[in-house]
């Protein structure tokens, strides 16, 4: 990499992610700025000198870039109208509109910043302990509190477009994480010819190798820099035809059955993998010290990313706080980037020998046994206070140093959420102060720093072993010996590694200030947690819920370790006993749009739809279908059917075709009626019940041939009946084909005194009562169209239901209308049909029945043939029959002129004891009438009852028979 001086002064930046030859213009709060291709929103803004990136959730404290990895909430901005965008990972694009959030008038001067000074009056859980009395106080205060909440703004004008997509993939091995371990595992698996998907959340492969550039001693590729190792491994992976590499892709969850959800841009990719290797690495986490959220306090890796990825100078004078060699590498990076490194504060005691070469640079003073105690400054770091531990001799008093950048390069946390989700055993290890992966479920492996082990040699070995074991599970491992020796080697190395002494840095450094932030997202302070524990919230789970620590946008990534540490200390419990807060999917924030994909639920239209529209029908949605409600005048439609002839489109009926020797036994098992004895050419009304005897559906069953039935279902129940039929057919292994032909067949019902006259003009079929009687069926031609005709009478008049291939829909409709002209035919809609059928007391499933109605309540006892051999619902129905009936569906006519509405309550002694299921005005009766559920005692003992119509009580008289043509002479005529 080229030598650079102070990068902020350099006109051209150099970073391995950016292309300075391609400028990108974007606006921030209405002003135009410039960045380069490859920049993120945050890197470009940082390069432009911005230091405050957000205001915190509760106290409106200024926040600056902290993690540069999309994990913390400190850089959330609104980008192109999208709220809460992590600007540090949001790629910059031409003309982008970026705005700050949650501050007014600006991030630099936010008047709500005064809340920070009121902190004393806002102790943890203050809202639970205040505004209680008088009762009205909360009602008044709540709207104001609501107004303060939230971060980004919703763009109410936004539409859910079709830019989202879902994709499904299958693979032998899915490897999550393309760092050193992931790449190594991939390379090993390639050798076994496995089919691999490698998922990497960064734009390029290599992981930490791309920014911890000095930190490598890779045994297999000696003499190469970290960048070169990454390039070498990545090249092998990318050039292999058996690997598909997904970059910019975040794993959002690993669900049961190795079902891996990955978000890539606007796409949700769902991967079913036979084996999964998790190599998601680890990430640095902040320390808790006084003023630890001050802009200018950054994680070490964040600083390295700014330098190496984006060529941005992170500051002028830096202090590195560390507890490992990694921090010393960072100091070198800083120095090379032209940043003056004032000091390194290393938590470890001074080593006897400089095994890592960190002491080579004499210009940087290293304070051993030292940690940070305070960040100095108001809106940005202006200095640091470091303190040497009491045991060490040299620096006792806190030492103040001037600087504008504090790099925290101490503790790391394994990114093990995916493993947690799979139920892997992860135990806290005191020796290394890391959660170690002890066991993973079958088909899931972990390798690299995600296992809690931070040792490159070990990590590489883990990766190789994981890859080979996966291949072994797949049955494609050829090098069994190699696997055995690698496992041996790994075990040896683990033992050696465990014997090394460890110094780890406590997550919290003692201090005096109130403002020691544990949780950046929710502004939870250390003292908040201590107080909550004092109040009895000792369990980490309850502590979380009470203090809201770990519950914000970062979901505990930044703060769970510190919270656990504090909880352990305050409760006097061992950290290993505290447990963790549950990490829940999605493990990376993912938008509702991506999750939903592009949704297409088109409305269904019948084959005659356009005819209805042309006739000016008012359409209504029934289930997923559009149906004519009426063609303008319900009463004349009613009149036409009763006095002349009418036709209604009933194409929406569910239609199932059953063929096979065992079709009859299956239907006998599914319907409570007897079906087996149905003769060819006959049709029967049937009822389907659940196991418990609840009515699921009704319809007609027509026997077209010995082994061929045509079944209709209620419009809204087609799909559920189809699966119900198939479920039972499969479970009993019947020899029957069930085909849903609903969309393939159109249907009309032609009914009325002149129906026969109309139909006989169109069809050669003998329609006489003697040949084609009530409940008969015949297949033949209607207007030259092959059709199945059923003589049934839902509306109570002579009528035929005619089913025909949908493509003839408009032609047949026109033919019928034309043939009916001379008889005064009228098309009728569902509203007229409802009145017509109600006058016949024919029930509609779902309208006059509910989720618990049984046939005995709904006057369908006649249909139930308990004496039949076993059928679905027989047990339940037998039991119900033996019990006193609780409800009864009765017909009623109003005594006065009122017409109740569907759903009006039946009142007895001031209590709503039942309800009207259907009610209309009956032209035949000349009054309001309908069906209602009454408690059995009312239905049996009384001849009338009370309905609350629009809140006013009206008397209804029970009518036992059908309201119209109770003998059924007309529909049989």
């Amino acid at each position: 990499m080229a030598k650079r001086k102070n990068l902020t002064q350099s006109p051209v930046r150099q970073g391995n992610r950016i292309d300075c030859s391609r400028e990108i213009k974007f606006s921030y709060n209405g002003r135009w700025y410039q960045g380069y291709k490859g920049d993120t929103v945050a890197s470009a803004l940082f390069a432009a000198g911005k230091r405050i990136f957000s205001r915190s959730f509760k106290y409106h404290r200024p926040r600056g870039l902290t993690c540069v990895s999309g994990q913390c909430p400190n850089c959330l901005m609104t980008v192109d109208g999208v709220p809460n965008v992590r600007s540090c990972i949001q790629p910059l694009s031409q003309g982008m509109q970026v705005e700050h959030q949650n501050a007014w008038p600006s991030l630099e001067h936010d008047i709500f910043g005064m809340i920070d000074r009121l902190g004393k009056f806002l102790p943890v859980g203050f809202y639970y302990k205040s505004l209680i009395r008088p009762k009205l106080l909360w009602k008044i205060a709540e709207p104001f509190i609501r107004r303060m909440a939230g971060l980004g703004k919703v763009n109410l004008k936004l539409e859910h477009g079709d830019e989202y997509n879902h994709r499904f993939l299958h693979t032998d091995i899915a490897i999550v994480g393309g760092g050193l371990a992931g790449l190594t595992a991939t390379v090993e698996a390639i050798k076994a010819d496995a089919d691999i998907i490698l998922v990497e959340e960064q734009p390029c492969l290599g992981g930490t190798l791309r920014h911890r550039v000095q930190d490598i001693d890779f045994p297999e590729l000696p003499g190469l820099s970290a960048q070169e190792v990454a390039d070498k491994l990545a090249e092998t992976v990318v050039s292999s035809s058996s690997v598909s590499v997904m970059t910019n892709a975040s794993a959002i969850g690993l669900y049961e059955g190795n079902y891996l959800g990955v978000r890539q841009g606007n796409e949700l990719v769902k991967i079913r993998a036979k084996q999964v290797i998790i190599t998601t690495g680890s990430y640095q986490i902040p320390l808790v010290f006084d003023n630890n959220d001050l802009p200018g306090v950054m994680l070490g890796d964040a600083v390295r990313k700014l330098i190496h990825y984006y060529g941005v100078s992170p500051g002028n004078k830096a202090v590195v706080v560390t507890s490992d060699d990694n921090g010393h590498g960072l100091a070198k990076d800083l120095a090379e980037a032209g940043v003056e490194v004032i000091a390194i504060a290393d938590n470890r005691p001074k080593p006897d020998i400089d095994h890592s070469g960190v002491l080579e640079n004499p210009r940087v003073p290293v304070f051993w046994d030292t940690s940070i105690s305070r960040a100095l400054g108001k809106k940005h770091v202006r200095g640091i206070e470091i303190v040497t531990s009491k045991e060490a001799s040299e620096y006792q008093a806190p030492l103040k140093l001037k600087c504008d950048l504090i790099c925290i390069s101490t503790n790391s946390q394994p990114a093990n959420s995916l493993l947690h989700q799979t139920g892997a055993t992860i135990e806290y290890d005191k020796h290394t102060a890391q959660p170690l992966v002890k066991n993973t479920p079958a088909g899931v492996f972990a390798a690299g720093e995600v296992t809690g082990i931070h040792d490159k040699n070990l990590n590489v070995l883990q990766a190789k072993v994981a890859a080979l074991k996966s291949c072994q599970n797949l049955g494609i491992l050829r090098r069994k010996k190699q696997l055995e020796s690698l496992i041996d080697e790994l075990e040896q190395l683990e033992i050696t590694s465990r014997s090394l002494p460890r110094v780890h840095c406590s997550q919290t450094v003692p201090g005096i200030s109130d403002k020691r932030i544990v949780c950046y997202c929710e502004d939870v302070l250390e003292k908040d947690l201590n107080q909550a524990i004092e109040e009895g919230f000792r369990d980490i789970q309850i502590l979380k819920r009470y203090s809201t620590v770990t519950m914000g946008p970062c979901q505990g990534k930044m703060c769970s370790a510190a919270a656990i540490d504090i909880c352990a200390r305050a409760t006097g419990t061992d950290i290993s006993q505290i447990g963790t807060t549950t990490s829940r999917p999605p493990l990376e924030p993912v938008s509702l749009g991506v999750l939903a994909g592009s949704v297409h639920t088109p409305l269904k239209r019948t084959p005659m739809h356009n005819r209805h529209v042309n006739l000016g029908a008012k359409m209504v949605q029934v289930g997923e279908w559009l149906r004519p409600h009426s063609y303008g005048n319900v009463w004349s439609e009613y009149q036409a059917v009763r006095e002349r002839v009418g036709v209604i489109d009933v194409s929406t009926l569910g239609k199932l075709d059953l063929k096979g020797d065992e079709a009859a036994p299956l239907l006998d098992r599914l319907y409570v009626n007897r079906i087996g004895n149905l003769k060819v050419g006959r049709t029967r009304y049937g009822v389907v019940c659940s196991e418990t005897g609840v009515i699921l559906d009704d319809g007609t069953i027509s026997r077209l041939a010995e082994d061929h039935f045509f079944v209709t279902t209620t419009t809204g129940n087609t799909e559920s009946m189809e699966s119900w039929f198939k479920w039972w057919s499969a479970s009993t292994n019947d020899c029957v084909h069930i085909t849903n032909i609903t969309a393939g067949m159109g249907a009309v019902n032609l009914a009325g005194p002149f129906a026969r006259d109309v139909l006989s003009k169109l069809s050669p079929i003998d329609l006489s009562n003697e040949v084609f009687g009530y409940m008969g069926n015949v297949s033949g031609l209607v207007a030259g169209v092959p059709a199945t005709l059923m003589r049934i009478g839902f509306v109570g008049e002579t009528g035929w239901e005619i089913h025909f291939p949908s493509e003839y829909g408009e032609y047949l409709w026109d033919s019928i209308i034309q043939a009916g002209q001379e008889f005064g035919i009228r098309p009728f809609g569902v509203e007229a049909q409802r009145i017509l059928r109600l006058e016949k007391k024919h029930v509609i499933i779902g309208q006059d029945t509910d989720a618990l109605t049984n046939p005995y309540e709904a006057n369908m006892a006649w249909a139930v043939k308990l004496e039949k051999e076993d059928f679905v619902g027989r047990g339940g129905l037998r039991k119900i029959k033996g019990l006193p009936r609780s409800n009864k569906l009765v017909g009623f006519v109003m005594k006065d002129g009122t017409v109740p509405r569907d759903g009006d309550p039946v009142i007895d002694k001031g209590v709503a004891v039942g309800r009207v299921t259907s009610a209309r005005y009956s032209p035949h009766v000349g009054r309001g009438f309908g069906l209602a559920y009454l408690p059995d005692y009312l239905a049996v003992q009384q001849s009338d009852f009370i309905i609350a119509v629009n809140g006013l009580e009206s008397l209804a008289v029970i009518v036992d028979q059908a309201f119209y043509d109770p003998e059924g002479l007309r529909l049989r005529g």
């Binding site: 709220p83 809460n84 302990k129 971060l151 980004g152 829940r584 749009g593 569907d902």
Partner: protein, 404 residues
Amino acid sequence: MQLFSKEAMWDRKPLKDRYRIVIIGGGVHGLSIAYYLGKHGISDVAVLDRSYLGGGGSARSTAIIRANYVTKDGIPFFHQSLKLYQDLSQELDYNLLFSQFGRVELGHTESALYALRIRSEANRAMGVNSLEIGPETVKQMIPAIDMRVGKTFPVLGGLYHPPGGVIRHDAVVWAYGRGAARSGAELHPHTEVTGIRVDRGRVSGVETTKGNIDCDIVVNSTAGWCSTIAQMVNIDLPIVTMPLQACVTEPLKPFLHKTVSSANLHVYVYQTDRGEVVIGGAVDPYPTYSQASTLPMLETLAAHTLELFPCLANVNILRQWGGLCDMTPDYAPVMGEHPDLGGFILNCGWGTWGFKAAPAAGMNIAKLIATDKAPDIIRPFAITRFKEGKLVNERGGAPAAAVQ
């Protein structure tokens, strides 16, 4: 002043070997029962939970409070509970952050409107504030909602229930816990019941992971796990445990001030005081005791939410979780002493309607224990109703439908 008090909510005490009453389940129901027992002067009570307090259904509940149920038995019971909730912050001296901003249930089809009308009419007849509203009023109340016509699920109208709202569920658990502890009940989290002892047709004690306890009365208040507890005394409950999943978005500036639900879409949505949008769905159609969340359900919740609020398309989901629902055949709870086992009190079958009922359930179960007589308001919910065929048909009232 309470604001600055650091008084412990409850003390940790060693488990004794005898209590008069053992309540299994330290969720909102168990703690509520213990609290109201205290009001009857009964303090020899232990609440046991195998995990932390309120860690089961209470922690996972989306805490919607409403009383717009369907049946003559359900409406007064849930109405009583709603009224108790309205005064609960003062009663327990703890701000439970009850956002009583009203609830709107949307209808997208004629039949859905009919189902809503059944409820509004029954509610009105029984004195619960609940009314039908047209599309214009819906839009007025919920400006963010998509009112375009011609889509698959157009908003045709709704049921408005002004006293409905959302409460801070954890706070209810803690406040009841504190109240119970102050009146002498002992709270024992992380104490799992492994067996129940029976002596001559009565319960005589429980066995736990922390030792055995003698007692006269055992209350089974374990929601999703209630059938497993009943199994310990060989009682088969007509209850199936099914999961229900929910998810929550990142905090957003307030834009939605009602709880909104849709029976057609099997989804309900509201925005908390913190700005997060909470989204819940229907019960998953399979029985399980696993609380793991699934990707297909998350996709469904997202798609259905966007059907109502397309403006949320670019809003991020932060987390998803699952909870258990102990579903009864009639979607009504089971309360009362078991007829075949003296001292074994059932408070279960709380399905998706448990949190709403906690105050009334606690008060009435406590009264049952104190007076040895089931209060009239909970009599219809006795376990014997399944034998007698006297179901309390609340299935039209619960948001969870379509379970066959």
